[in-house]
Symmetry: C2
Subunit: 428 residues, 2 copies
């Protein structure tokens, strides 16, 4: 953890270093991923079976390529009732929030009878990647599949690796609730390649979303353009802006909720109260060893944690915009006044009773968010990622007479005579 | 040009080959582009000056790195009045169309006082790539810069190569009209790298849009994630659906307006009238040699042109969706009835008096559109490409009591104890 104070003579340089620090894994995975994609494209299912044997230690032809919807339902019905209710509540709130994102088209006709507009349609096939292994993330199933279903996607295909053939029942239950259509036992870059190009068994998709490790993220990046993707994902981060009136143990828990994800995660506290900064640092140290995730949280906090002391909350605004964080908590009395002045953040959690974790699960907004300063230009996952817009145009003779001559003039000036002729012929 | 008939026994295979044909340049530009990007990132302006000397044959330190806004205005004022009026009309109609795309946020509070919403903001810095050289595309300046300005982007940075130091005055005039903020004399992959990473002279941008050759397109693809980009662009295409009641010379001109762009362009006629197909083929041959662009148009039509004869217009719908074309003309009496059944197209031009070229220039909708079947998942350039959405959430004690326990249950099930604790502490 580093500690910075805005009054320090080295603050500007220290803060720039913090903003620019790369937390991506250093391993050059691009070449490995290129080879995996090429082989899946050439060999299809045989390559998938081979990679699955190698990385996940089971034979797809023995364990089965797909998991049947009846098994998802059985997993859902066997859940502890409190957990089942929690999943149901999350699914319902996520659906309600995302239904407000359905875009509205346009259709306008002007005085010359020139009709212009735009129509939105859902994509047909979406692929959802869900990490497997020891950790199970049913919340990611809901956050990816529900927006696709709200958009009106015909076919939602979930892929997830099942190391040693095992899968967490919570993930199956979430697939059942979210309305997934197919579930394949494949993971890694090879699963992304199979979704993009299709194989004999698996029909290709149009868009791929969902979290994954560095290989999965790189495969999505390389296949962007063959399919649509949600975003280029990097390590997760949180910025907590807190005045001295907060409870240090609450804020420490918020910082650790980010640190426990991954050793590359980053948690940053910005406060205008140096004594509160000391109290939070002490609380982090006190809480961290009590966590089952202590090892990861400690590594992340030591390597990437930061506490920044400013002269005022207002002084924090420009720092917050430069960090353009995935998650931003505003733990103060009038968070709206600060939010009004902030331009770049993936998702904002306002007030003292809005820990970021509530947004990870049940509040409704999506937890798939831009990382690594990409909130400067990118948005969280939404219904729009599963839809596309077709513009349209309709002219009659009167409309063409009104604007056609300008098109002819510009086409001739650009040296495109067939463009000009296609309009001019209809003007005569 | 190939000719297919749906009643042929080989039609299914022939049509699939047409859909899957790759028209991308075969040259492996990815490695060259990686090297150019790395050098610009390391050496900055010195690399830009060197590449410009090598590829555009002029010394930036002598000709000047930027072109001054006063020169844009002078170029605008010196234009032929008819051309100036045409550019002004185009700019005004493009602005009007794109203003309808401004997204609306949301802000809702439920009975438990749980507030959820989303707020849209413009990005701060946009980079616009405009090809240079003999051809001048002022329309591309308008189509890229105006949506950025409508979105509210603070700084629109245009880059364009000026081979031998020369630039077309129409492009300068368009920069003046469109409200561009800076104009730099650089092009190619090196210009994209400079915009993404910044140099001593050029401040970096957040999003890069605009057309370019294979090197420019590959540079944008490689830098996606460092910046936002509009799309992965490929060769342009048109599908014209026309019944036998059309004039063959009009439809031939429409097909040629696509073919004249580039040897990789594709024009496809689908008709339910075999005699009309013959007439259009003859008209294409008659018109093609009269074009100043004959050489390019002939190469594109010979290599990539296609005429498909179907038994009915309705039979064309599934073919149109599989082609998912950038441009689609519906030249028939009731185009709306067909449009209602079509799912995948970048932009649709309805009726007999709506040649695609009218949309390239003055109608209003954007001419930057998804190519190469990407209309299955992608949309044309819009105001949304220059904005991003921040979701937000605000709970009080009552709201947290209502949904917090579900978040605790899910966090514990996912093995994330600090997540659970950050909520549980606030529940006690």
């Amino acid at each position: 953890m580093i500690r910075l104070t805005t009054t320090s003579p080295t603050f500007a340089a220290d803060f720039t270093a913090l903003v620019n620090a790369r937390r991506e894994a250093d391993a050059d995975v691009a070449r490995d991923v290129r080879a995996i994609i090429a082989r899946v494209r050439d060999e299809g299912d045989a390559a998938l079976a081979d990679y699955t044997q190698r990385f996940d230690r089971h034979d797809l032809n023995a364990t089965g390529w797909q998991i049947d919807p009846a098994d998802w339902r059985a997993a859902y019905e066997a859940l502890d009732p409190a957990l089942r209710d929690a999943l149901d509540l999350a699914a319902q709130r996520i659906a309600t929030y995302h239904e407000k994102q359905r875009p509205v088209g346009s259709d306008t006709t002007d005085a010359n009878g020139i009709r212009t507009g735009a129509r939105w349609n859902a994509i047909q096939n979406a692929g959802i990647y869900i990490p497997g292994g020891r950790a199970a993330y049913p919340s990611s199933v809901l956050m990816n599949a529900i927006p696709a279903k709200v958009a009106g996607v015909d076919r939602v295909v979930m892929v997830t690796p099942t190391p040693d053939g095992e899968i967490n029942p919570l993930v199956l239950a979430a697939a059942h609730i979210a309305g997934v259509d197919e579930l394949w036992r494949i993971g890694g870059a090879q699963a992304i390649a199979a979704l993009a190009y299709g194989t004999d068994r698996i029909a290709p998709v149009d868009v791929i979303t969902g979290p994954g490790n560095a290989w999965v993220a790189e495969a999505k990046r390389q296949l962007y353009g063959v399919v649509g993707i949600d975003m280029v994902a990097g390590p997760s981060e949180i910025v907590v802006l807190a005045d001295g009136q907060n409870r240090a143990d609450w804020i420490a828990a918020d910082l650790l909720s980010q640190s426990e994800h991954d050793p590359t995660s980053q948690s940053i506290l910005i406060t205008d109260d140096a004594a509160f900064a000391d109290a939070v640092a002490a609380e982090v140290d006190a809480q961290i060893d009590t966590l089952a995730t202590a090892k990861v949280a400690r590594a992340a906090w030591d390597a990437n944690g930061a506490i920044i002391v400013t002269a005022s909350l207002a002084d924090a605004i420009s720092l917050i915009d430069r960090l353009a964080a995935e998650h931003l908590e505003l733990a103060c009395d009038d968070p709206q006044a600060l939010f009004d002045q902030i331009r770049h953040a993936g998702s904002v959690f306002m007030g003292r009773h809005t820990p970021e974790a509530i947004g990870d699960y049940v509040a409704g907004p999506n937890h798939v968010l831009p990382t690594g300063r990409r909130a400067r230009f990118a948005s969280g996952l939404s219904v729009l990622d599963f839809m596309k817009r077709t513009s349209f145009l309709q002219l009659g003779p009167q409309g063409l007479a009104a604007i056609g001559p300008a098109a002819v003039a510009l086409a001739e000036a650009e040296g495109l005579p067939a463009h000009a002729r296609s309009v001019a012929l209809r003007l005569n």
